[in-house]
Structures are given as C-alpha cells and as structure tokens.
C-alpha cells in the first residue's frame, strides 16, 4: 500500500481542521476550536484502482504571533493552501506560506483552496480580479 503525507497549511480559522474532519469523518461543526500544534489523521483513497493511504497533517494556522514551522512539512507529498474567502489577508498569508514551503522542501504539488463558499456574498476576493 502506498502512503502519502499531505499537509494542511494556511492562516488561522480558514477552515483547515474543518476540511479534514469533513473529508475523513464526514462531519462539520460551527464551533471554532483552534488547532494547537499538529493534528494527524488518515484517509484511505482509491486512485487508479490502487489504494493510497493519506496521512493528513493538519497544522495550526499562521497568525501574527505564530509562524508555521517548516519542519512539519518535511517529507510531504503535497499540501493544501487554505484561504478564507471572506478575509483577503488569508490569501496573502497563503501566498507567503507557499513561497516559504517551496523554499524549504522544494516544488511539491499543492492545491489552493478558497474556502467558505457559502459566504461568497461576503468574500473579499472576486474572480478575475487580482487581489492586489
């Protein structure tokens, strides 16, 4: 069986933990409990009729006080950059983080997730518009 380490990276309260919970256990909660350190989960997926075990590292979100430590990303096969659509700053954080990660562990594939689609009305980000 193939195993892959995948990391959840982004600013605080963007919905990293919520995404993992939804993906692994199909649950969702409105209650915000910030992640301290790292929370690890596992999800088995079928890829081209091959079973892959995803080891999901849900890292604490970055804020002014605490930068994400790059050592947690070592050995990751890919990562999600999670952005909260209602807060433009989280997109900027994501970009900065992406650059930092690539600098540390190389050009590893990543997916940028624009979260909180249901609150699209309040988004500070619009399609086709550069955030800056």
């Amino acid at each position: 069986m193939i195993q892959k380490k995948i990391c959840m990276v982004g600013a605080f309260a963007t919905g990293k933990t919520s995404l993992v919970a939804r993906f692994v256990r199909s649950i969702y909660s409105d209650v915000y409990q910030t992640t301290v350190g790292v929370k690890i989960d596992k999800k088995l997926v079928n890829l081209d009729s091959q079973e892959v075990s995803l080891i999901l590292w849900d890292l604490y979100g970055e804020d002014e006080l605490q930068k994400v430590r790059m050592s947690y990303l070592r050995g990751a096969s890919g990562y999600f950059l999670v952005v909260d659509g209602t807060r433009r700053s989280t997109f900027e954080t994501a970009l900065a983080l992406q650059a930092k990660v690539e600098q540390t562990i190389g050009a590893v594939p990543f997916i940028l997730v624009l979260n909180k689609l249901d609150l699209q009305a309040d988004w500070e980000l619009e399609e086709g518009r550069s955030p800056r």
Binding site: G37, V38, K42, S71
Partner: protein
C-alpha cells in the same frame, strides 16, 4: 496530541494482556497470588493488573519503523495480545512531536529526541540515517536493550538502505524487517514459575494456622481483659466508667478512692501487660464500708488495744481500751469521717481506768512463804502466773499512756527471830520473787526488790493469821509519766 493516542493504544493493549493473564492466573493458588488478590481487593484494581504491576520488570510492547523524511510508517510489530491503534497515525504523531520538541527547544541540529515518558510507558527512539526505530516500553528497560534497538536499526539500514532512500510511500518492501523488529519485543517478569500446588497448600495451611493462633491470642486477650474488668468491679473504691479494647492497647477510665487498690497492680496477675493499658483514674471518696473502715483507721490512728468495726449502715463500733484523751478525740473526729454515720463507744474502756484496776489487783496480791524459808511456798503457781500476766498487761497499757512502770516486790518476815535476821530473810524473799518474775519474761528494769523485815506488817485478812500473812512478798506499783519524769524525779 500524541500522548492520549498512544496511551489509548497502550490501554487497549494492556487490557488484552490482562485478559489472558487473568485466565492464566485465575486458577492458580499461590501465597503470592493470595497477596495480590488482597492488594487487588484493597486498591480496587483488577487482579491481573496487580499481577502485571508486581511482576513486570519491563516489556517492549510495540516497535515502529518510521521513515525519517516523510515520517511515514514502514513497519510495525506488537507483542502478542497487544492491540494497537492505527500505527500509521502513531508514527506520524511521533515524528510530529519530535519535530515539535526539536523546533521548540532549539536543540542543535545533531541532537534528536530519543526518550519520551508517559507514566509507566517509555518511548525509545533509536535514530538511523534514513529511518528511526521507536519502541513503546512498559516498565524500566535495561540499558542493554538500547543495543538491541541500535543493532536492529543498523541492520535494517544495511539490508534495505536503497529501499529507504527510494521510499515513495510504498511500505510493502519493509515487510522484510519484520524479524528484526520482533527481536526487539523483549520482556522480563520477576516470577515466571507456575504455582506449585503443594507449596501453595502448605502456605495456605500456615496462613490458617496463623489465623488460628492469632484468633486464639485474640480470644485469650479478650478473656484476660474481661477478668481484669470483673476484678476491678469487685474492688471497693473503684468505679469503671469506660473500658475499651483497641488494637494492641486498652483504654480505661474511672473513679478511684485513694485508699482503693492500685488498678495497675491487678494487671500482671491476670496476664495483661501494664504497658498496654492507658488508664485515667479520677480520685473520689467511696462510701464502701470496707474502705470507710480503712479511712477511719487512717484518720483515728487507734492504739493497738482498740478494735474497730464499721457495719453496712455506717455504725462505727470501738472496743478494747484506749487512753481517755484518744477516746474523746476519736469520738469527735469519727462523726466527720465520710462513711461513718454513728459512733458506738460503750465497749471501749479507758486505759487509765484499766491501769488503775490492774494496779489495784497487783497490789492486792501476796505470795506466801513457809517459816524461815526464802523459796516460795508450794501451790501458788496460779497466783504467780496471774501476777506475771497482770504486770505484763500493766506495762503494755502504761506504755500506751506514755508511762513507765516500776513494780516493787516488798518482802516481809514475822516477828519470830531477831530483826536483823528478819530483814535479811525478807530481802531474800523479795529477791526470789523478782528472780521468778524475770524468768517469766518480765523486764528486770521494771522490777525492784526490798525487804522490810517486820516493819509495816500486813493486817490479817480473811482468816489468815497475822503470823502467816507476814511471811510473804507483796507489791507496790509506781507509774512515771515519761514526759514529766524529769520534773518529778529530779
């Protein structure tokens, strides 16, 4: 984040172990297992848990082979009976915590976390260049075990160095390390012996015997204590208020008349160690007649010639003889003595009166002699005997009044013969009587002898002729008050 997960894994594993252990031990009967059962009962732990706790030196319960770069699990083994949580997760968490520690505490790059402890569990991490070996150990592993881990991780690197370097997430190839990992699953227990049934029964028998002996001693101690309490209750002047038997000690409180026996002195005779008894006695006055009688004696200090009796109703009867002064004082005092309600002195004779009467009796005695003889005439033994007793009694009574007695034997002769002869004869007769009295046990200091010849003759009495009556010895008693003797006899 890692602690609870591993702990849970361990707990599950432990439970499984305990189950099997439980079954194995349930039927065994050893003194050891008996003690463990007792401990289990006392601590509320399960029996198997106690056994494990008491016998386990250490046990490697799980071994993880973890890829360093990706922190992905390469291989995992667990001791039999140990069920594990998702080893993939554990290995990732382990790596995460290592990273966390290294980052947080700014250790130099060469250093790495190699030991973690959660209560009874120790996590050992043995670093290799590409992979690490992590062992979950219960108890205190000996340092030699490190070598085992080191050799295992080295061997894995030697054999699978290429696979480690090329690792892309497919762990199947590391199945090959299984034997090396299993080799690390070591354990040591203190007691591996199977319960020896015969030994067990002997031990059980001894235990029963001990219980029996203990029970016997307990029974005997109880008996003794009961006896002691019985005796105390029977003692006048002792009131037991509370008596308790504790573990090894006795406690007793009560009232005690100062004249009553010392309760501590009754302990040894019934076989109780006085050291084991904590007693508190408050003084009180008992109206018990026996004690009241003692109290009366203590206070009145009666002379030896007085006997006292106190009846149930508190009537004090005094009999015998006593100095007038003492009788007066005693009568006064006695009515104030607790336990005395009435004083009877009808049978009490004043010493002074008795003294006078005996003196008179002695002075009325005469001992006779035959014509011209200096030896006492026959058939007067009884008179002599009476005289001896009277003198002795006189001395005793006089002593009670602080007086000394002098008895003078006065010898006489009738007027036959010359006066000189008669004087000598009378002196010899007095001397002879004094000698008799001394030989009968009267102190010579109390006696004097004087012959008076025909002077001061006795008048005839009750049909005895004047001639006869003056061939005799009569007596004169003189009493000297000791306290005044110097004044009266300057």
């Amino acid at each position: 984040m890692i602690g609870p997960a591993i702990r849970r894994a361990i707990a599950t594993a432990l439970e499984a172990t305990l189950q099997s252990l439980n079954q194995a031990l349930e039927n065994s009967l050893t003194p050891q297992s008996f003690a463990w059962r007792l401990e289990a009962l006392q601590t509320g732990k399960s029996f198997a848990e106690v056994v494990l706790l008491r016998t386990l030196l250490y046990r490697v319960e799980q071994v993880f082979l973890i890829h360093k770069e990706t922190s992905l699990l390469l291989h995992h083994v667990a001791a039999p009976g140990v069920e594990t949580l998702d080893a993939d997760l554990v290995s990732a968490m382990l790596k995460a915590i290592q990273d966390f520690v290294c980052d947080s505490f700014n250790t130099s790059s060469g250093d790495s976390l190699d030991t973690l402890r959660f209560g009874e569990l120790t996590l050992w991490i043995e670093q290799g260049p590409q992979a690490v070996l992590a062992g979950v150990i219960r108890g205190n592993a000996p340092y030699e075990l490190r070598t085992v881990f080191q050799q295992a991780i080295e061997k894995i690197h030697q054999v699978q160095g290429k696979a480690l370097a090329d690792f892309q997430g497919n762990a199947a190839v590391f199945e090959a390390s299984h034997a090396d990992l299993e080799d690390c699953l070591r354990s040591r227990y203190q007691h591996k012996k199977q319960g020896n049934k015969a030994y067990a029964w002997v031990a059980m028998g001894m235990l029963l015997l001990a219980l029996g002996v203990f029970g016997f001693f307990g029974f005997r101690a109880r008996q003794r204590w009961a006896t002691y309490l019985e005796q105390l209750k029977a003692e006048p002047g002792i009131v037991v208020i509370e008596a308790k038997r504790g573990w090894r000690k006795y406690f007793i409180t009560g009232l005690r008349d100062p004249l009553a026996v010392d309760p501590a002195q009754l302990l040894q005779p019934v076989g109780i160690n006085p050291q084991a008894v904590v007693s508190q006695w408050e003084p009180y006055l008992s109206f018990d007649s026996e004690l009241a009688a003692t109290r009366v004696k203590d206070l009145l200090k009666p002379p030896a010639t007085v006997s006292l009796s106190l009846d149930e109703d508190g009537v004090l009867r005094m009999s015998g003889t006593a100095p007038r002064a003492w009788i007066a004082e005693a009568q006064q005092l006695a009515q104030f003595i607790p336990g005395v309600t009435q004083v009877e002195v009808a049978d009490l004779i004043e010493t002074e009166a008795e003294l006078e009467s005996i003196q008179r009796q002695i002075e009325n005695q005469i001992l006779q002699f035959q014509e011209g003889q200096t030896a006492i005439a026959p058939h007067q033994d009884e008179s002599l005997q009476t005289l001896v007793e009277q003198i002795k009694r006189l001395i005793t009574i006089a002593a009670a009044l602080n007086q000394t007695v002098q008895v003078e034997a006065i010898g006489r002769a009738n007027n036959n013969g010359s006066e000189a002869q008669n004087l000598a004869l009378s002196q010899s007769r007095a001397d002879a009587i004094v000698a008799l009295l001394v030989s009968a046990g009267i102190e010579p200091e109390s006696l004097t002898a004087r012959g008076i010849g025909t002077r001061n003759p006795l008048q005839n009495q009750s049909g005895i002729s004047t001639v006869e009556i003056n061939r005799s010895v009569s007596f004169k008693v003189s009493l000297t008050d000791e306290s005044h003797s110097e004044i009266s006899n300057p």
